[in-house]
Amino acid sequence: MERDDFRPEDEAERRLWEALARLPEEEPGPGLRRRFYSMLDEETTAAAAERHPARSGGWRRRLLTLVTPPRPAFAGGLQWALPALALGVLLGAFLPERGAAPPQTDVAALRQEVGSLSRLVALSLLEQDSASERLKGVSYGREVGPSDPRVLDALLAAVADDPNDNVRLAAIDALAGVAGRPGVQQRLIAGFPRQESPLVQIALVDLLAEARGARPRLQRLVDDPQVDPTVRDYLRRRLERRT
């Protein structure tokens, strides 16, 4: 029995029946795709580790597993556990005796220490073999802030060279706050034709189309035969929408 067998009782119900199939579709936010692929990467890595336990070893990886939360998608405040722990230890070491006010310079030094530690974790994770670890690195990098030059450089390198599409997509997402910088735009555009995944290219278009000053650079890509025709079409429509 097919759906077309259904016969509404009268004209009013027929119109309603047809309208139900015409309700406009909405798009979910980009976070859904990111969360899905993060979950999938973790499950894939876990399944691989079960099949080949020896390959999942390595002191560095084990150390990082100990100090970083296992599921960043659901971790929420937990992802600051390590910096918070460091803050606690440093507070103990730096704070003067009871009754005395902490000097401003000590608080600034503490803040700097915590920031350095988070940056160190982000950069270390971004160098891991496992895609899910690198995704965590992107997540830490986002928390530290892409305005940090070394984190920014690592995120741009991830967009250009990471072998995993999902890491590249997450890194693009993390660059949202700095996409207006000419240097950032230049590196993203330069690597654009080398991106093999149309999904990544479309994410780059979405990022840059909203960025100030990127329009002339994007316009050149519309005529670049190296770029996938579907992506070029999307880019053309995206640019038209902004005018």
């Binding site: 029995m1 759906r3 009782e9 009013a12 406009p24 909405e26 798009e27 979910p28 936010g29």
Partner: protein
């Protein structure tokens, strides 16, 4: 899905790309809440991995996916108090030959109103109409999910549609009575 079941988990990405939009809109029309709908889509794919062994080669993927979606939806509504549900009405007493209030259904405003009317239906009726009209399932597939006959599904769809029509028309009726 067979490949996912047999251990090639990365193939789930292909299924996500093909079906997440349909699932998202199903949940959005069920809940009226974008954030919750994204969470529910994610939960369906988590369950696909968890219960992948239960997928049968001969089974159709869409029907299996919506069976999972239905369970996820039931868990969601089970955890939350129902907000606004239109009163059940005695359908047989309602006139069926009313003048058409629906000529303007092409307009975005009317479609928005239709979406609102859907949200006021009891959860089971809303779910049935969505499975039938936007889930892309046949009556037989829906019957297998609901555990009843295809004929029973058609009867329920008729009732749900009539109830939807009454909820959709309620503001006009109130305006007429008020005038």
């Amino acid at each position: 899905m067979s490949q996912v079941r047999d251990g090639d988990l990365e193939k789930l990405g292909i299924l996500f790309e093909r079906h997440h939009l349909r699932l998202f809109n199903f949940f959005l029309r069920m809940t009226g809440d974008r954030t919750a709908s994204e969470d529910l889509v994610q939960e369906v794919f988590v369950r696909m991995l968890k219960y992948r062994k239960s997928f049968r080669e001969r089974g159709e993927f869409s029907a299996w996916m919506f069976a999972l979606a239905r369970n996820v939806s039931a868990d969601y509504f089970g955890r939350r108090p129902r907000v606004t549900v239109a009163d059940e009405v005695e359908l047989d007493e309602q006139p069926s030959g009313d003048p058409l209030p629906l000529e303007q259904l092409e307009l975005a405003e009317s479609l928005e109103r239709l979406r609102g009317a859907l949200l006021k239906l009891p959860e089971e009726k809303r779910e049935l109409l969505l499975l039938t009209r936007s889930g892309g399932l046949t009556y037989e597939q829906i019957a297998a999910i609901l555990g009843c006959s295809a004929g029973a599904v058609k009867v329920r769809v008729h009732r749900a549609l009539r109830h939807l029509r009454q909820v959709f028309r309620a503001p006009e009726m109130e305006a007429q009575h008020g005038a």
